[in-house]
């Protein structure tokens, strides 16, 4: 069984008296020692889904099962002990670290809350955690502003590791970093996942970097998961037109001088999503069925699915004839 199972999850916010469905019927599974990527444009609901998974927002429907038990939403009181093994790392290591406390004491919070050891033990453990994320033990006595963006992200990861997590959800951990720091953190995440057998959910709008580190990937559009599968397969033969558009929009640094493909239109307002397939107004392959019906995720192989009528076994053949995709 998966370590985390998200089943048919809905997240709804109320905005000026209107219900906005940020996440609609999303399902996802996280496995030990594997990295799952969750990609999509801003406003697609990926951060809402992340927050729901760690219990920061209460889902309107569906369920989240963590280590065999349903997850309770975060309340005022302390979190049940076993749920502290689910940790979140935010995008911006500038705002998620306290500027006026030393790095060491912030990392030690996780240890203190778990009542682990005395002061000396904790100091030793902080040193080990810093080492694990590639920083020297001397970093413990310094303040966040004394570190670069990449180093701060390492500190944020060390702080999450202090809670001895089995699952870490990372919301855009790489997007504020330069290419080289991005590569360093990406390599670190892969190493930690394998070594500590963590289940990682990596949320990003950058499909290129996700492709490099994630074992599986789910693609989200306007609150729904439109495609999922082993990363390599999704990249080499995307089965949803939206995934295809995302890949075509990535500019390659090959000096070829080719402009990336722009996706026409804008992400619609989630408060009034289009009828039928939510992608149909921007899709180059839209046909009669798309505006009227909501496509289910069609199974295409082990762990592989796409929510597109072109993949409906009943219609796929006719479209192959017309040479679509």
């Amino acid at each position: 069984m998966s370590l985390v199972e998200v089943r048919e999850l809905d997240v709804v916010y109320r905005r000026q008296g209107v219900d906005v469905h940020a996440v609609v019927g999303a399902s996802l599974a996280l496995e030990r020692a594997r990295i799952t990527g969750l990609v999509g444009e801003s406003g697609c609901g990926k951060s809402s889904l992340a927050r729901a998974i760690v219990g920061l927002v209460e889902p309107a429907a569906g369920e989240i099962v963590f280590d065999g038990k349903p997850l309770s939403p975060l309340r005022r009181g302390a979190r049940p002990r076993h749920e502290t093994r689910l940790q979140l790392v935010f995008q911006n290591p500038y705002s998620s670290l306290n500027p006026r406390r030393t790095v060491g004491s912030q990392i030690a919070d996780g240890l203190r809350l778990r009542g682990e050891g005395d002061r000396t033990d904790r100091r030793t453990r902080v040193g080990e955690l810093l080492d694990q994320v590639g920083l020297s033990a001397g970093a413990a006595g310094r303040f966040p502003h004394q570190f670069s963006g990449g180093q701060r992200q390492r500190i944020a990861i060390a702080r999450a590791l202090a809670a001895d997590p089995s699952v870490i959800v990372l919301d855009e951990p790489l997007s504020s970093l330069d290419a080289s720091a991005q590569a360093q953190i990406a390599n670190l995440l892969v190493g930690l996942t394998r070594e500590l057998e963590l289940a990682l959910l990596l949320i990003s709008h950058d499909l290129a970097i996700v492709r490099h580190v994630a074992d599986e990937v789910s693609v989200m559009y306007l609150g729904t998961i439109v495609e999922e599968g082993p990363t390599r397969e999704v990249w080499s033969s995307p089965q949803h037109p939206y995934t295809e558009a995302l890949i075509a929009a990535i500019p390659a640094a090959d000096g070829s001088g080719t402009l990336p493909e722009a996706l026409p239109g804008e992400v619609p307002d989630p408060a009034s999503p289009p009828s039928g397939c939510r992608f149909h107004p921007r899709c180059p392959h839209t046909f009669a069925r798309c505006p009227g019906e909501d496509p289910p995720l069609y199974e295409l192989g082990p762990g592989r699915a796409a929510a597109c009528f072109l993949r409906d076994p009943a219609t796929a053949q006719t479209h192959e004839h017309e040479g679509v995709i």
Binding site: E41, S42, G43, S148, G149, G150, Q151, D178, A179, S180, A181, Q182, A183, Q184, A186, N187, V190, H205, D206, L207, A208, I209, R211, H212, T231, R232, W235, A245, L246, A249, I250, P251, A252, A253, D254, G255, S256, G257, T258, L259, P260, E261, A262, L263, E266, V267
Partner: protein, 324 residues
């Protein structure tokens, strides 16, 4: 003659702890209708070097060198002459369009005010021009957009509006500082296509600052790679990205996820960090992170020299020289 020629540009900033050199002698030229790329990591001085051209540097900064534009030195302009050039012939767009758009003013008022101040047009004519500008940057339903406020637009649309504002006075040179960094790739592609069209249709020159070599590859004609306040390599984009000569350029490219490899190879990160402007290493500033550094690299700053048609390189070792 080039539209802009920058020679020996240096920018120093006075701080509590003494003077810090941010830009340490850079030379480049921008041609008409050309997209000139400036690439490098954060802290490399790429933004400061263009803010210097517009005299938009923070207090305590001093510049030396020359930036020749139409026979005048931009670094020495003042008063009216400066205002006539800045915002009219040289315009700028930033990474976050919200910093350049007024949140409480309609788009129409912001754009038309710009046109009225610089071109002395009537209110009605200025509004008509504003609508034209919005159409030019492909904002759907420009007439309606005139009455909207910035927050009513998405990030990509706001960046289009900011570009429309920059184009209001028909500038010759647009300086774009990480214009697509905050945007999704699909939206980024649209902005890149827009810049490309403007360059082709109206001969606009663009200085494009970005740390994203993919963006650079798709639109820049020439690229200069900045490291620690200096240009370490420059040349035509196509050549420079396919046959990089400087170990730093090569390392930047190696750090990127590559489309052709099978995806699961470890990314090649550059060891260490870019140096702070306060503590730049002696010699070649990249030497502590460089696998090819030799004794000369540690003591002597390599000059930027010609290594081929339009290619310049600042490296004592030149480990990737084409075999002769």
């Amino acid at each position: 003659m080039s539209l802009l020629e920058v020679e020996e540009l240096r920018v120093k900033i006075r701080t509590d702890r003494g003077e810090v050199t941010i830009v340490d002698g850079v030379d480049y030229a921008v041609e008409e209708g050309q997209v000139f790329g400036v690439a490098g990591e954060s802290g490399s001085g790429k933004t400061i070097s263009v803010l210097a051209l517009l005299q938009l540097l923070p207090r305590g900064a001093s510049t030396s060198g020359r930036a020749l534009y139409g026979g005048r030195d931009l670094l020495r302009l003042s008063g009216r002459a400066l205002r006539r050039v800045r915002g009219r012939e040289l315009a700028m767009v930033f990474q976050d369009p919200l910093t350049s758009l007024h949140p409480m003013m309609t788009i129409g008022r912001q754009l038309s005010e710009h046109v009225r101040i610089h071109e002395g047009a009537s209110k009605r004519a200025a509004l008509a021009r504003a609508a034209e500008l919005l159409a030019e940057v492909r904002i759907p339903d420009p007439e309606r957009a005139l009455h909207a406020f910035p927050h009513q637009f998405s990030g990509g649309m706001r960046q289009r509006v900011a570009i429309a504002g920059a184009l209001a006075t028909r500038p010759k040179l647009l300086i774009a500082d990480e214009p697509t960094t905050a945007l999704d790739v699909t939206v980024q592609a649209g902005i890149l296509r827009l810049l490309d069209r403007l360059r082709r249709e109206s001969g606009l020159s663009v200085i494009l600052i970005t740390h994203d070599l993919g963006v650079m590859s798709s639109i820049a004609d020439d690229v200069s790679i900045f490291y620690a306040g200096r240009i370490v390599e420059s040349g035509p984009t196509k050549e420079l990205l396919s046959t990089p000569r400087h170990p730093y350029t090569r390392a930047l490219l190696d750090a990127l996820p590559h489309p052709e490899d099978d995806g699961r190879a470890e990314l090649l990160a550059i060891p260490g960090l870019p140096p702070s402007p306060r503590r730049r290493p002696a010699g070649c500033a990249f030497h502590p992170r460089c696998a090819y550094a030799n004794d000369a690299s540690r003591v002597q700053t390599p000059p930027l020299v010609t290594v081929g048609a339009a290619r310049l390189l600042a490296c004592h070792v030149d480990p990737f020289a084409a075999p002769s």
